[in-house]
Symmetry: C2
Subunit: 393 residues, 2 copies
């Protein structure tokens, strides 16, 4: 009955190939008792200062006269973001900042503005599924480049594509704590990529949700080495809360009217309650101390996961130690199919995302890797979860 | 400098014609001291029960463990919406409801799913600009039908188009308190339109932001007379708060996976803080009493505006008394150009939206009408504003 009904509608062609994401399938599991989720990219919200949140929201309800009204996006929040961008090595002003409903909307707005149907784009072979979802309606030609697990995107491969005369709509990259591979792009590669964007007139979309979550020395973002051609996407989802749906993009000033108009068509471009709470938190000057708390807690969990992987998988796997972000990427040395292994692991009450789910090109084989999240579970859960994984594989 | 920069980017063709909306231009004016805005469709947020809001938000922060986390859209809110749909004459269940970031996102999601590039759509000649913004990237063929100021959309004109063999992607309508014309679609026309959708297999998008704001007897929505082919768009923006960005669509159950996937690509499909506050308010059982407060206050303001129009423009204009919504549509009997008149009126510190801004087809001439909002200003401001208008025209 369901299928015949869907067939009654005359959908645009790209809709016919739509299916729910693997990530969506796994959200439900996380709430089972005793389940240990290494699957999703969840922050641990127990670190949020509840007393400050209560104070901030009460203050908004009581004193901000337009808190519940249609009102323009918060300029004051842009001023706070200018300061944060400075911490990422970028000098910009409020006129280059556009507030979004989280990082995903930032991506989606930029994709919609930069990509003509069927145009090529450059992605890494293993990539954040959210960018693939945003690309889908535009049926782009997806060109992929490999990733070195220690130094990130193969920038020479990017150069070869550009040299060949191909003109992609953009290059997409998560340079810090990349998703799914957990790697930081090396400093010299950041500079080189920014140069290439400039030389060949090809935009870069730099997606930076983890740029403030560093476990050794922080690198300046790619945007800090380049100009107007580099579009930066920021987000408060991993550092404050995804449920506040607040992010931003840094773009050339001339893009602002285009973004205003496009966001109006998406979901109206106004100050949201989430923007106000985010601004309230930033004004309490908790940003730096909160980042210290998060980085120290997540570093400890990362270390615990590495210890446990070494303890329970002494010879079967290989991995690197991520300097940023939420993920450890594990490769099985033998030819294990991690997609097939997932069912057994869910039965053992532990989850991860198999490598195949991150494949930029649907047909390409990436069977023996898995993405493990270390930010969400306690150290104790991390050890127990890795033990369960080792027993089930 | 700005323009040359924009020209450096190789935008998709529809982007080149993008300009900010007239509405966006007028948002700034409303905050000037002593300015009276009849321009925007703003609810009066002073009617919101602040004490309840504070209680609800504190309860969320204190007790809802996933309040700030990635978590699935709130099923319990869907249950509350099922009850609201019942008040609109619609029997549905949670599986047909999809939560959106306000009504505009509901529209935009449905447009994206139902419209193939270049396909025809049916709109009224004067139409909500937000639907035009959503249509733009798809470059549709816009077919228009006239509107009777007492009974709404010319449904016979719709039938003539469908009979001619044209297969539009959908018919778009605001049946209650239409925007901009303020008219309710007559009961027999609702039934007939639902029949046409069924007979010709053409979807209707019924946009219903004002369906709960009635000043005489409430009519059941079009969806209540039809089946799966009628897509209902609901919103809490006018009845609770636009800043919470919470709306919904009622669709065939088989659409849910498509909407999930599409919203994931737009801005991630999770429970937001706004959804939680909305649910908290509904659970306090304030909906009916709050609607009574709003309807009674807005009815009084509507009546005051009509009185003032009759007093200050005794012979120059014609208008109807709206039974729902936020707007009175005024036509000048003489051939006044309301677009040209706007500047003088802004100087006199009163605003409205000129008819031309609502034209579904850019070139079509609609020069002598204006949309006046009566929900936002006090009775005293309404009289003063209408007086100012009468003095400046």
């Amino acid at each position: 009955v369901k299928i015949s009904l869907l067939n009654d509608f005359n959908f645009p062609s790209w809709v016919k190939h739509t299916k729910p994401s693997a990530i969506d399938d796994l959200i439900g599991y996380a709430s089972q008792p005793d389940f240990i989720s290494f699957a999703l990219g969840l922050p641990d919200q127990s670190f949020l200062p509840k007393a400050v949140l209560t104070e901030v929201t009460n203050d908004i309800i009581e004193n901000e006269i337009d808190a519940f009204q249609y009102s323009p996006p918060l300029e004051e929040l842009k001023t706070e973001i200018v300061k944060l961008m400075h911490l990422r090595g970028v000098s910009c002003d409020e006129k280059q900042i556009f507030l979004t409903s989280g990082g995903q909307q930032g991506l989606n707005l930029l994709v919609t503005l930069l990509l003509e149907r069927g145009q090529p784009v450059i992605l890494e072979e293993l990539v954040y599924p959210g960018i693939l979802q945003s690309l889908k309606p535009f049926s782009p030609e997806i060109l992929t480049v490999p990733t070195d697990l220690k130094t990130g995107m193969d920038v020479e491969a990017v150069e070869r594509i550009l040299k060949s005369g191909v003109k992609p709509a953009f290059i997409y990259i998560v340079a810090d704590g990349s998703n799914p591979l957990g790697v930081n792009l090396a400093l010299d590669k950041r500079k080189r990529l920014a140069e290439l964007a400039n030389t060949y007139g090809v935009p870069i979309i730099e997606d930076d949700p983890y740029g403030f979550l560093n476990y050794s020395n922080q690198l300046p973002c790619i945007k800090s080495f380049g100009g107007e051609n580099i579009f930066y996407v920021g987000s408060f989802s991993k550092i404050f809360s995804p449920a506040l749906r607040t992010g931003w993009v840094v773009v050339p000033e001339c893009f602002l009217p285009l973004l205003v108009s496009l966001k109006e068509s998406f979901d109206v471009n106004i100050a949201t309650f989430g923007q106000r709470i985010t601004m309230g938190l930033l004004r309490k000057n908790i940003f730096e101390s909160h980042m210290q708390i998060l980085c120290s807690a997540y570093r400890e969990r990362r270390d615990k996961m590495i210890l446990s992987l070494n303890q329970y998988f002494p010879t079967e796997i290989s991995f690197e130690t991520p300097d940023s972000g939420f993920f450890i990427w594990v490769n099985f040395i033998e030819n294990i199919n991690t997609t097939l292994m997932l069912e057994k692991s869910l039965n053992a009450k532990v989850s991860y995302i198999p490598s195949q789910s991150f494949s930029a090109i649907a047909g390409a084989k990436h069977t023996s890797g898995m993405r493990l999240n270390f930010s969400y579970s306690s150290s104790q859960q991390i050890e127990e979860g890795i033990k369960r994984l080792a027993e089930t594989y």
